[in-house]
Symmetry: C2
Subunit: 306 residues, 2 copies
């Protein structure tokens, strides 16, 4: 099966725990620990994962050594669709050098978020990123183009859907085969998800649309459900609900893989993932991080006393 | 406004923190503390709340003194729609004696749950409860009839929707003006909520349908959203996401009032509740209970360091 091929009774999940999940964790994972987690995730049935980002390890220490991780994962789990996040030209060069075949390239739709993260206005970041998408596609890499803050940004009143649409169309035209709309700040609500999906998908009918949702305000699964009902079949997830800022307890993680697998399982929608094996992954993350993670299904299936 | 009158742009929330929220807490709240919580909830704009249950205080010590609480709440906050849970004839007599004007009477649709909680099969419990509904209505009490485990029970494979429908019709015929479907075990999923609401509401078109949802598996708000989109305009909530078994950390609370208020606020649906004042209520509950509660919006609006 092509990794993008899904239907109403089947969805695809992209595991983000090693990238978005760990990027802000102070506790650094060794290469061996990351490989252990990839192995446990693969055993649970995860078929697609982001293993990290090609960013400056001085800025994001958790991402140090992503080259070796990439090579080891490619060698040991050739069946996995393994991708990574790239935010600039140096990152793309590094990713190409170590043989990445799938990449996520992303820009922010929010002016303040773009200036803080990419060091320039969204328009300039989009121009640069469009060039990088073209370059990656020319090198035979499958590109997913992401729009961060697609549903708003805490420092701004609103991110116009028109701006998101314009960015999506430009990135799609440059050759990205998948478009990811990210609720970076966990601000989306279900009606907004439905509206944006219905606006974006018809504008890029030949592209796969995916959603990256955070549970900051408790709406992660409600938003995911709204996306599913609007036709989205590919979702980012992170075991345990890892992610966000580790200094705010339980605050802002990704939607938890195990909770998403349970939801789809209840609705008769196949994910290909074994929930009980996934709980083993969550428990191992909790053990390594020394704290409970916010996902609910580990509590249900492997409860610990308070 | 009649407490049941709502529209697509307006919903009504029934606060359950003093009943479902506290019933399993070992830490007993004094009368003064309960009155303080009612006051804070009323200041936040809560218009309707369940203050407790008329059950044997030897079985549920938290409910000791509900008579005095009822009288004090009626005297101090006459504008509040104040109700309580009644499960048997003695409870009804006690509730009538202290002047309750709104009551929730409920039965379980699950055989094993009914036998464990009511000491008899659902059919027998339903017969008894139907008699109590009639009696309460004859006494001029507004009755909400609830069906527990309407979406399933952990000890059984399935609770048939037909059994839920039959119970609802019988309780409605006995004079209940509101029907509450309770996901007691937190087992519902959004498609199931939509299906059951669409099955039940047309069968009792003149009754108000309400939902009581737990977030055990992370689906509380997704289920609430499904109910809202299927036409439900009245939901049970509990500040902080209180509720469920306190021995399983963060496991099984009600949908958190503050998260529901935030969701509806984002969608332009009025609840009449001030989110920031509500956070004060949650913080006070956390202070009295000595732990963080699972609701998300307190973490967003009044974050504490991990």
């Amino acid at each position: 099966m092509h990794p993008h091929q899904t239907s109403a009774s089947q969805v695809l999940l992209e595991e983000q725990s090693l990238r978005d999940g760990l990027q802000n964790e102070e506790r650094l994972f060794s290469l061996a620990e990351k490989l252990e987690m990839v192995g446990l995730l693969a055993e649970a049935g995860i078929g697609r994962l982001q293993i990290g980002s090609f960013v400056d390890p001085r800025r994001v220490p958790q991402m140090r050594g992503i080259e070796e991780l990439t090579q080891r994962v490619h060698a040991h789990w050739p069946q996995l669709v393994c991708s990574a996040l790239v935010l600039n030209a140096q990152g793309l060069d590094r990713a190409v050098s170590c043989g990445m075949r799938h990449l996520s390239l992303s820009v922010s739709a929010s002016d303040s978020h773009s200036r803080a993260n990419a060091g320039c206005a969204p328009e300039e970041a989009l121009e640069r990123m469009t060039g990088l998408v073209r370059k990656a596609v020319d090198l035979g890499i499958t590109v997913r183009a992401g729009v961060q803050c697609a549903f708003g940004c805490v420092s701004e009143d609103e991110v116009p859907a028109e701006a998101v649409l314009a960015a999506v169309q430009q990135l799609a035209a440059a050759g990205a085969t998948e478009i990811n709309l990210a609720d970076t700040a966990g601000l989306a609500h279900p009606l907004q998800v439905r509206q944006l999906v219905r606006k974006i998908q018809p504008a890029v009918p030949d592209k796969v649309l995916s959603l990256h949702l955070h549970d900051t305000r408790g709406l992660g699964l409600a938003n995911l459900m709204a996306g599913y009902e609007a036709g989205v079949r590919l979702f980012d997830v992170a075991a345990g609900g890892l992610g966000g800022c580790p200094f705010v307890k339980d605050a802002a993680g990704n939607v938890a893989t195990e909770d998403v697998v349970h939801l789809f399982g209840q609705m008769g929608v196949a994910t290909g993932i074994d929930l009980h094996r996934l709980i083993t992954v969550v428990r191992r993350y909790e053990e390594l991080l020394g704290r409970e993670l916010p996902g609910k299904m580990r509590r249900v299936l492997a409860p610990t006393k308070a």
